[in-house]
């Protein structure tokens, strides 16, 4: 590498290793290369200029995607991480650059997404002086990072970044932020190579597996008449999809997913009984309050999944498998806690459970599913009116993508509809902002997902509200060419809020009426092809055109203005009080 300034030093008596003098900025980039990072999303500025200057010499080794807003950058890094399973990396400058990351950091924290965020900071001697673009990003991000650290000396950089990557990806993953003062980026120091971190004495990424609890859990499962599995993103994060499938197949366990766990097993797996949650499927919600043993795996009993807690699965014994000990008993009292990485615990559990089937019990799910099909799904997928529904768009998309695409959604009705109706064959295919519900997540996350899984088709699905929150990232597509298929489901409303106002506020539509620019013209301005349709007869051909188009394409589909997403567990109600209309 031509930028490395290598000086060999030898002493007479004791040979010393040669020193390599590197700047802090070079050490940052060396660390990324050592961690096998290929793509970085970022935006430059004063306090991170030395790193960008060093990047100039690393262009052939590191791909840097210049986003249009730091929020776009971090959502792209999240999309990248979610699609690839690798750590997403984002660069931002101090002050406004760093604060623009905060929404994405919070999103990554609650959805356990591994990220390393590198922010520039003012010179160390200016810290605390209200210097230009100084913000206390460490304290701002403390509640929303798994770990954060401020580097003020160049020599700290290799070890701090090694720690950052280790913490971000190990155990329950999460976002890490490293704030580097400008002097530390500029200073030269004796670089002794990069040593990856694999142990921090105060940090136990995986709790020890306790066989006793595995045995107790197996006993409960073996005695259960109506066992029911809830699975979350833990399966995907733990890369335990196979282990999970083997487990449920051995005992014939009906299994329902959280939106974060969706795609961990194929949608049409005979034991997959659908989606949990406020807008999830009817059967898994109702039968949560009928099962005798509830087995929760890598999920955290979010209130959008449990509804009213004091009426949640009270009749059932509860087994909770989680890597994070703090999740056990946090929301739902556990009968048997199974601490550990599910990649390790699931096979141990599978070994101890009896091979059986629960045919009649599984049939209960299928019967209730028929009810939902009759009352909700049929009309959503095959509307009796001229007006298109969001569900039918997803149905056609499933057919044309062969259920093989990565679907990245924004937040709102379209998100719930996409999660309900999209079909998946492969894991890591449903990328959505689950815990935080961040509007504006969709488009940039889809861009990141495309870099994370370049060989896969990536479809970004947004509402007309959320799309306008990060619409500027069309510029990133224009400049760097990410082949993202952009689908806008335009209902001319902030649909999800409108639905609540209709149902719970007597249709007092307060500021949910949102206008849109001419998206096709906007896309055209960014050099992206596009089309708007409002007739059913154009749907399949237009979706096909979008998917076969070489490069990014924007398709706007005008859908019913006041369609609602059902079923629904109204807030404050029990899951078994789920409404079909």
């Amino acid at each position: 590498m031509e930028t490395l300034d290598i000086t060999k030093e030898t002493t007479a008596e004791k040979p010393q290793p040669a020193k390599v003098s590197l700047s802090g900025s070079q050490a940052v980039l060396e660390a990324l290369i050592a961690e096998n990072v290929k793509t970085v999303f970022g935006y430059p500025g004063g306090a991170i200029m030395p790193i960008y200057d060093a990047l100039y010499d690393y262009k052939d080794k590191l791909e840097h995607i210049l986003v249009r807003h730091e929020q776009g950058g971090i959502h792209a890094a999240q999309g990248f991480a979610r699609a690839s399973g690798e750590v997403g990396v984002v660069f931002a400058t101090s002050g406004p650059g760093a604060t623009n990351l905060v929404t994405g950091i919070a999103d990554a924290m609650i959805d356990s997404t591994p990220l390393v965020c590198i922010t520039g900071q003012v010179f160390a001697h200016l810290l605390g002086t209200d210097a230009f673009q100084e913000t206390d990003v460490i304290n701002i991000t403390t509640p929303v990072t798994k770990w954060n650290y401020q580097v003020t000396e160049a020599s700290e950089i290799p070890s701090v970044l090694a720690k950052a990557f280790y913490i971000a990806r190990s155990g329950r993953p999460g976002p890490v932020l490293v704030d580097i003062t400008k002097n530390a980026q500029v200073e030269k120091f004796d670089y002794k190579g990069y040593i990856p971190c694999n142990h921090i004495r105060s940090y136990l990424p995986k709790p020890k597996v306790r066989k006793k609890f595995i045995a107790e859990a197996a006993k409960l499962i073996n005695e259960a008449k109506k066992p029911f599995v809830l699975f979350g993103q833990g399966i995907i994060l733990g890369e335990a999809e196979k282990e999970f499938q083997t487990f449920i197949e051995k005992a014939g366990l009906p299994s329902a997913f959280t939106i974060m766990g969706e795609s961990a097993i194929p949608s049409d797996h005979p034991l997959n009984v659908g989606m949990l949650g406020m807008h999830g499927n009817y059967a898994p919600n109702v039968l949560t309050n009928e099962c005798d043993v509830l087995i929760a795996i890598g999920m955290r009993f979010d209130d959008r999944v449990t509804g009213r807690l004091d009426k949640y699965a009270k009749q059932a014994k509860i087994i909770h498998l989680d890597i994070d000990p703090a999740e056990i008993d946090k929301n739902v009292k556990t009968t048997v806690p199974v601490w550990g990485d599910c990649k390790e615990t699931l096979p141990l559990l599978t070994e101890l459970i009896n091979k059986t089937e629960h045919t009649a019990w599984l049939q209960r799910f299928r019967d209730l599913e028929q009810e939902e099909i009759k009352q909700v799904i049929n009309e959503e997928l095959n509307p009796s009116t001229e007006i298109m529904s969001m569900g039918e768009v997803i149905k056609v998309l499933n057919k044309l993508t062969n259920e093989d695409a990565i679907i990245v959604t924004d937040v709102g009705q379209h998100q719930m509809v996409a999660c309900r109706y999209a079909k998946f064959k492969n894991s890591r295919s449903n990328i959505t902002s689950g815990g935080l519900g961040t509007m504006g997540f969709g488009l940039p996350a889809a861009i990141g997902a495309k870099y994370g899984a370049p060989e896969r088709t990536v479809v970004s699905i947004s509402g007309d509200g959320g799309f306008q929150m990060t619409i500027q990232e069309l510029g990133t597509i224009m400049q760097f060419g990410a082949d993202v298929k952009i689908l806008i489901l335009n209902n001319q409303f902030l649909g999800m809020v409108r639905q609540w106002q209709e149902l719970f506020n007597d249709r007092r539509y307060s500021f949910v009426n949102i206008t849109s620019p001419d998206y096709i013209t906007v896309a055209k301005g960014y050099g992206i092809a596009g089309k708007r349709i409002d007739k059913r007869e154009d749907l399949e051909s237009s979706l096909q055109e979008m998917l076969s188009y070489k490069g990014s394409y924007l398709l706007e589909v005008m859908v019913g203005k006041e369609n609602n997403v059902f079923p629904m567990v109204p807030q404050g109600c029990s899951v078994s009080e789920i409404r079909l209309k």
Binding site: E30, I33, A34, Q150, S202, Y203
Partner: protein, 196 residues
């Protein structure tokens, strides 16, 4: 569940920023911290937080798990008052003439086991060590006699059946023994760029 006083002892790495990270775990849950002490321990580089809160055990247990999850936190213990030996220290500044003139004050000070720390012609500083009620007792008793200033420390507490932290720390250091060091591209060329 009934609220009661709990002493939370947190062993941590000595790291800037950790105080905030721990403090916000309480404020986020709207839990009032009655007392907080942070100090070095018998082991170099390890700090100990002693935090007193009034909460239900269930809340304290969950909180302890959340605190222990923080990267630089080694271990969290929580104990009821019966399970710890604890003390607070207080300093009282009183006009010296009051003590010399009023025999009652002198008796009070002796009764509460107060020790003089500084004696000057204008004021005298006493200290007492004890439980909160004892310290409060003297505070109240001295109030009518022109108490100039009063300050109380946070609680420090020793867990009755703890065997110290040395062995625990060894366990932490040993768990997950490091794998062979994976070296980066640059390091693999060590023999070429470094002379040994």
């Amino acid at each position: 569940m009934n609220k009661q006083e709990f002493t939370i002892s947190v062993y941590t790495e000595n790291q800037i920023g950790l105080l905030n990270r721990i403090a916000i775990m309480f404020s986020r849950r709207k839990i009032n911290v009655e007392s907080l002490n942070v100090s070095p321990t018998e082991i170099e580089g390890i700090s100990r937080f002693t935090i007193v809160i009034n909460e239900a055990e269930d809340v304290v247990r969950k909180l302890a798990r959340q605190i222990e999850k923080q990267i630089e936190v080694l271990k969290v213990y929580y104990n009821t008052n019966e399970e710890v030996i604890w003390q607070e220290l207080a300093l009282y500044k009183v006009p010296t003439d009051v003590i010399s003139e009023k025999a009652k004050v002198e008796r009070l000070l002796r009764e509460y086991g107060a020790q003089a720390v500084v004696i000057r012609s204008d004021y005298t500083v006493f200290e007492t060590v004890g439980h909160r009620e004892e310290i409060d007792g003297l505070l109240e008793a001295l109030a009518p006699y022109g108490l100039i200033e009063f300050v109380r420390s946070a609680r420090v507490a020793i867990i009755k059946d703890s065997e110290g932290f040395h062995n625990k720390l060894k366990e932490f250091e040993n768990r997950e023994p490091s794998e062979a060091v994976i070296e980066n591209e640059f390091l693999n060329k060590q023999s070429e760029v470094f002379t040994m």
